[in-house]
Amino acid sequence: MNRITGRILEQPLGIGEATQLDQRRADKCPSAELWVDQYGDLLFRYARLRVADRANCEELVQETFLAALKGKENFKGQCEFSTWLVGILKHKITDHFRRQERDAADTLPDDQVVDGMFSRFGKWKKFPRRWHVNPEDSAMESEVLPMLQRCMEALPEAQRKAFVLSVMDEQNSDVVCKTLSVSSTNLYVLLHRARLRLRDCLEKKGIGQVGAVKD
């Protein structure tokens, strides 16, 4: 009963379509012993960009593979298998953030690094420099993106998570507030501190300067 209504709600299947579906799924889903070699690094990189600690990332990849193993039947072949895996990992990362943030305080401590960027009167101590970067050109990918990733890794936990979820993954701020259990005011504070630190870090790495320091 349940299965039938479920299928009708999902999408009605004509005769022959069911076997087509199985075929599509089989084409796209390689057997499990190949998963680690084919998708392990991809999933690890996805996690690594969002979660600072390597060991945590490896654990998240493992959880993802195990969940995929258990729920293989849910893969219907409507997207690439890698996309399906990343979808699982995405949920695992959100859970991971949620678990970590359970005892987040209501008030954010001051950020001395950001405080140090401005004078008592709120003026720049060190004026921003001009960056010679064209977002359309190839230097963006080869120079800026790796730098940005390194700088993101150096952010304090809470700021990094806020930046990752809101800016990188473009999640709605209500959702991000819930995941990180912070008020919207605090989310804005975390985001602007994150940007100021990233800006500073990128500049220190020599972004858009001639003879930039690569790392």
Partner: protein, 88 residues
């Protein structure tokens, strides 16, 4: 009396520049920020740099699946071995 946008300092301008990107900034605050950006070259650069950083971050997320940005970006041999034993 005519109400003019108050003069911001750079720190507050940085906050507003971000707030404009992340949520809502009232018309009044937008005007206040715009005035500061006219008179302050440093914050003008900052404002553009924030835009570039956001764009780069989204690009990073998008490209991530296919790009390896450093040697650290792969599973360690130990983890690979452990996973292979587990996933079959």
């Amino acid at each position: 009396m005519l109400k003019l946008p108050k003069i911001l300092n750079c720190r507050a301008a940085a906050e507003m520049s971000c707030r404009r990107r992340d949520g809502q900034l009232s018309h009044w605050d937008r005007a206040t920020l715009a005035v500061h950006l006219i008179i302050c070259a440093g914050c003008r650069l900052m404002d553009r740099q924030f835009a570039l950083m956001d764009k780069a971050a989204r690009q990073l997320a998008f490209l991530n699946a296919g790009t390896k940005t450093s040697e650290n970006d792969a599973l360690s041999p130990e983890a690979r071995k452990r996973l292979k034993k587990l996933i079959r």
